[in-house]
């Protein structure tokens, strides 16, 4: 290609780019989706999930535990001991099983009449716990109540041994001692494994409307045929349109990253003693990782939209394509594989792993970063070649 032709092509591509950007900035729906709801969706959703889960975990540990107790009068000492550990005895329901089934209580403790007798004789005294293990919210209170009962039981056992002149140590021939090597950062990684998906989703939503509007939309509005009668190659048109789509996707991502930065400040991360790196350094690496992916996704969206016969059809196809980025997130959540270097070169998977590394505060080395960039860029170039080929077909232009 001569220098003159390149300049002409560049001028045309820039013309197409500026027109698509201007036209789409005037479209309320596109602006709202790409620049407002899209970027806010991820951070707000993540913030909500994060706060909700943490608040629950933190609060459950400290809050008083209300438990309806049947037969409290038979075991005043037991009740005192439990109350000292945070239990709040509630009035007894007439039917414990019904109370559980009707969700009136998460756990009900029943102290039978014979408890008193067994207690006096030094025999095992039974306490019944009613709960429904199929209910997710019953797990924590039942575990806490059992722990309280166990603590009381071992204190009692120790006292009884002492009374008989034996050392309570005899009761503990084997003692498991926990050496949990999870760092606070890695413990919250599961929660953060969803974070990369939000960024990918933002990029996808940011460019989606332009990808449709500039191809299927242009054809449906009958403006593609006049456009193609201009002395501009189809590859040049495609480049301009793609650049506009990528720009919207990246601006959307930039806004989302900024929003994540703001949300990150309000998350009670210090309570969990973790580092949540969503600052400028994270943002810079993130943009770098996502840049080739934004091009790849925009090209795929354009490919699908150009293939579709109408705007509606393109929307349908793209909603299906939107599920594609979930796959690595789900895969990593269900099968926590050990990340191997080649995985970083796989588009989407590479970004997923890279972002998780960054979020964990481990950083990402240059070789892996290069693998992500090279792998995804190669895929983007291939996708562009296919799209360019499809764009050149006669079928593309003709609307009827």
């Amino acid at each position: 290609m001569s220098k003159g032709r390149f300049r002409t092509g560049l001028h045309a591509a820039v013309t197409v780019y500026l027109k698509e950007v201007r036209e789409n900035l005037r479209d309320k729906r596109t602006v709202i989706n790409a620049l407002i709801t899209g970027p806010l969706l991820g951070p707000v959703l993540f913030g909500m999930i994060f706060s909700f889960t943490l608040q629950r975990q933190l609060a459950e540990a400290e809050k008083p535990l209300p438990v309806p107790v049947v037969g409290a009068q038979y075991a005043p000492n037991l009740l005192h001991a439990l109350e000292a550990q945070g239990l709040v005895a509630k009035p007894a329901p007439t039917d414990p099983a019904a109370a559980i089934r009707s969700h009136a209580a998460r756990v009900v403790m029943v102290i039978p009449k014979r408890f008193e007798q067994a207690w006096r004789k030094g025999e095992p005294a039974g306490v019944e716990l009613y709960y429904d293990s199929a209910r997710q919210d019953s797990g924590t209170p039942v575990r806490r109540l059992k722990k309280m009962l166990q603590a009381y039981a071992s204190t009692l056992a120790a006292q009884r041994l002492l009374v008989r002149g034996l050392s309570p140590v005899l009761m503990r021939p084997v003692v498991p001692e926990d050496r949990d090597l999870a760092t606070p950062q890695s413990r919250s990684a599961l929660m953060f494994s969803i974070l990369p998906y939000f960024f990918v989703l933002t990029v996808f939503l940011g460019g989606m409307y332009l990808a449709i509007d500039t191809t299927a939309g242009e054809r449906e509005r009958q403006s593609l045929e006049p456009l193609l009668s201009n002395p501009v190659g189809r590859g040049t048109l495609l480049a301009g349109k793609l650049a506009a789509t990528v720009s919207f996707a990246l601006v959307s991502l930039l806004l989302a990253t900024a929003a994540f930065g703001v949300v990150g400040r309000f998350l009670p991360v210090e309570k969990l003693d973790i580092v949540l790196d969503l600052g400028p350094r994270f943002a810079a690496y993130l943009m770098l990782l996502m840049l080739p992916l934004a091009v790849l996704l925009a090209t795929l969206q354009t490919l699908v939209s150009a293939y579709a016969k109408s705007y509606r059809e393109a929307q349908t196809y793209l909603s299906i394509l939107m599920l594609l980025p979930v796959i690595p997130s789900l895969l990593l959540a269900v099968m926590p594989v050990h990340a191997k270097p080649w995985m970083y070169a796989v588009p989407l998977l590479g970004q997923q792993l890279g972002i998780m590394d960054l979020v964990r505060g481990e950083g990402i080395g240059w070789p892996l970063l290069a693998a992500v960039l090279a792998g995804t860029s190669l895929a983007a170039v291939l996708a562009f070649a296919v799209t360019r080929w499809l764009y050149a077909s006669e079928r593309l232009a003709v609307s009827t």
Partner: protein, 244 residues
């Protein structure tokens, strides 16, 4: 000048264009008349390089339209059957977009757009977004953007479609003007009135072939028909798909 020889194009088993030949000269209005489905649009689409012919040659001002598509497009102003505008852009912006795609920039774009706005008498709508424009207003904008690069040859596919009487009269006057400036004007139509009123030369197409060619008087003389309408019917074999 546009010269077409042995043009053929098939879609699957349907031979849409089957050996079309004609010459559209400079300083003349040439009309492609034929019933719906005769192959007019496909022929024109090959002329403005949207489609590749299976066989045959097309020369626009001596340039090969099959091999030299980009250069040929510079010599053509095209008003296709599909004439959608960008409704979120103003009329001026629509025209300026095409001017830039033809390589103009800066003040040259403004100057040419001003010229087209004056030429097509559309000062009142130039600054408005094209959403909600009437058919006539839309055709004006589509014409303006097709001619913004001052092409020597103008191809129009059914330009009269959907226009009211006033808009049709204005369009005819405008096309005559283009011819008087020495340009080559080629348009297709299935409306006899339109062709009869406007054309210096008529090419009658049916079933993908040229069945007759000549001035309106020549066609009447050849068929021995009293009116042009009778002449067409006798040439095509039936009046189906034609409108008076």
């Amino acid at each position: 000048m546009i010269e077409v020889r042995g043009l053929r194009k098939a879609f699957g088993t349907v031979q849409a264009v089957d050996g079309v030949e004609f010459i559209a000269r400079d300083g003349a209005i040439t009309g492609l008349l034929g019933p719906n489905g005769a192959g007019k649009t496909t022929t024109l689409r090959m002329l403005y390089t949207l489609m590749r012919p299976d066989a045959g040659s097309i020369l626009v001002d001596g340039l090969d339209a099959v091999r030299n598509t980009l250069a040929v497009r510079e010599h053509l102003g095209v008003l296709p059957d599909a004439r959608g505008l960008y409704k979120r852009l103003t009329a001026r912006e629509n025209i300026a977009y095409f001017a830039r795609l033809h390589g103009l920039s800066g003040a040259a774009v403004r100057a040419r757009v001003d010229e087209m706005v004056a030429l097509l008498d559309m000062q009142d709508i130039a600054a408005r977004r094209t959403e909600g424009f009437s058919q006539g207003q839309r055709v004006k904008v589509a014409l303006a953007r097709a001619l913004v690069h001052d092409p020597r040859n103008i191809i129009l596919d059914e330009p009269g479609n959907g226009l009211d009487v006033m808009a049709t009269r204005a369009l005819r006057a405008f096309l005559r003007n283009l011819r008087n400036e020495g340009r080559c004007v080629l348009f297709s139509s299935h409306i006899m009135q339109e062709v009869a009123a406007l054309c210096d030369r008529i090419i009658v197409i049916a079933h993908g072939r040229v069945v007759a060619e000549g001035s309106p008087d020549e066609l009447r003389a050849r068929t021995g028909a009293a009116t042009l309408e009778d002449a067409f019917v006798s040439l095509i074999g039936s009046g189906e798909g034609l409108a008076a």
